[in-house]
Symmetry: C2
Amino acid sequence: MKLAIDALIEGIERMGNPTAVGLDTQLAHLPEGFAGKVESFADAADALLRYNKALVDALCGIVPCAKVQIAYYEMYGVPGMQAFRETIDYAKAKGMVVIADAKRNDIGATASAYANAYLGETPLGEKADSAFPVDFVTVNAYLGLDGVEPFRKASAVRGGGIFALVKTSNPSGVQLQDLKIGERTVYEVMGDLVSEWGKDCIGEHGYSSIGAVVGATYPEQGAALRQRLPHTFFLVPGYGAQGATGKDLRGCFDAQGRGAVVNASRSILTAWRKQPGVDFAQAAYNEAVRMREDIMEGIRA
Amino acid sequence: MKLAIDALIEGIERMGNPTAVGLDTQLAHLPEGFAGKVESFADAADALLRYNKALVDALCGIVPCAKVQIAYYEMYGVPGMQAFRETIDYAKAKGMVVIADAKRNDIGATASAYANAYLGETPLGEKADSAFPVDFVTVNAYLGLDGVEPFRKASAVRGGGIFALVKTSNPSGVQLQDLKIGERTVYEVMGDLVSEWGKDCIGEHGYSSIGAVVGATYPEQGAALRQRLPHTFFLVPGYGAQGATGKDLRGCFDAQGRGAVVNASRSILTAWRKQPGVDFAQAAYNEAVRMREDIMEGIRA
């Protein structure tokens, strides 16, 4: 079975592009008139899904991965969750590696329910079905290994993986994550746990199915974590709208220019705003090309 | 506006019962024949919803609160989410205080999306609607204050609140939570942050809308946290199937016997197994009465 981590690395190599488009789509991101009159959750969900499909069509040839932030679908209730499901199915069908950014976390049987929902299958008598089948799901590991183990187990179903929060991109992440436990920060302790948990599921390119979220907004810490966790692949948010640029990312990659996938959401979703007269999907494509150049230049520097 | 934390405390006083029923309903919990033939997510969701409604009918007169674990609905995809929504609506309509156990967490705009989904309203042009309207949602605060602030803000819409994970009930919670940051453990640091975040939204009974999850399986730590966080209400999982009993809970309550709500899921959902010949809803009622006595005895001891 092909591991999702290997498929992700190969997609990145094939396209020369270690990036993910973040489908954190919101109504405010859509060009005027695109959504039509929105009076219900179903109206909103329909507009988001149409926008996502157009973006996937435009980007699937040059961006290997889509990260879909479930919060923006959950907030539209049941119709929103339907749009989430159709978005991930569409991106998968177009060959993209799909990450559900859900930051799910719980213990024991409950963590198993989440793991089945995203990476495995939910039993139905003698049959089974998949609720929201993706390649990766993000996980918050504050609850320790028994919150992670069910995801590791479920990943055996289709070869999927997880990205556990280690060092997040937001300013107040430091309130807990940067405090010192002996010689190590909390995020280093978390990183070491993630590395340990992932050591038995390393793929053919040297990276584990258990990856880490490491924010681009802290370049020095990212570089130190790259050294510390040689087999842990990084999902790197914070590029673009959150302020990080290509040169901030160098440290998240290994000597071969591998080891991370960088996400950008708003800068791609709303690229049309900075390209007057250009169609939104074409504008997103142009921004994805610019981002690839910026990041590849940063990596080579 | 009535705060949910005050409504919860008053419900507990009125029924003399500081407990919540955990509607972590799974097919395996249902008596044989109840579900009928389950061949799809819709079949499963239909059975769970019917079971939940019967339990709410049986319990709403003696149990003031329902905690609904969303993972067990998410795993049935879109039909599962519909059953989740109908379950919370039904429990609310029957007068119960409803907690969505979702452990959601993210930063900035994304945390706002979750906060709107559970505690606030999602904007729809000039209108707005609520995705999954509950009184409380559980939150994982590993990302720090800017992951919590949006929930605090959204709580102004209907007076809702949150319970942030502090000390979880599972064995490997200790992997991170019990490590020392200077003189304090990670969970004490988290508890202090939660207390600080909640100090401006204390209700009329002295407890804040920002509460904490404190597992019943660590009675000494629970008692120490009760002393440390006098304005922080505790949601206490781990009673029953996870091993804690009434006497383990004493320390989670203050001198007036207030300050916590204790959740039990499996022991109530599957009470019919230990009461042969008794209808499942009646069995759940009987177990809820037994639990109330056990806990009240523990508190008075």
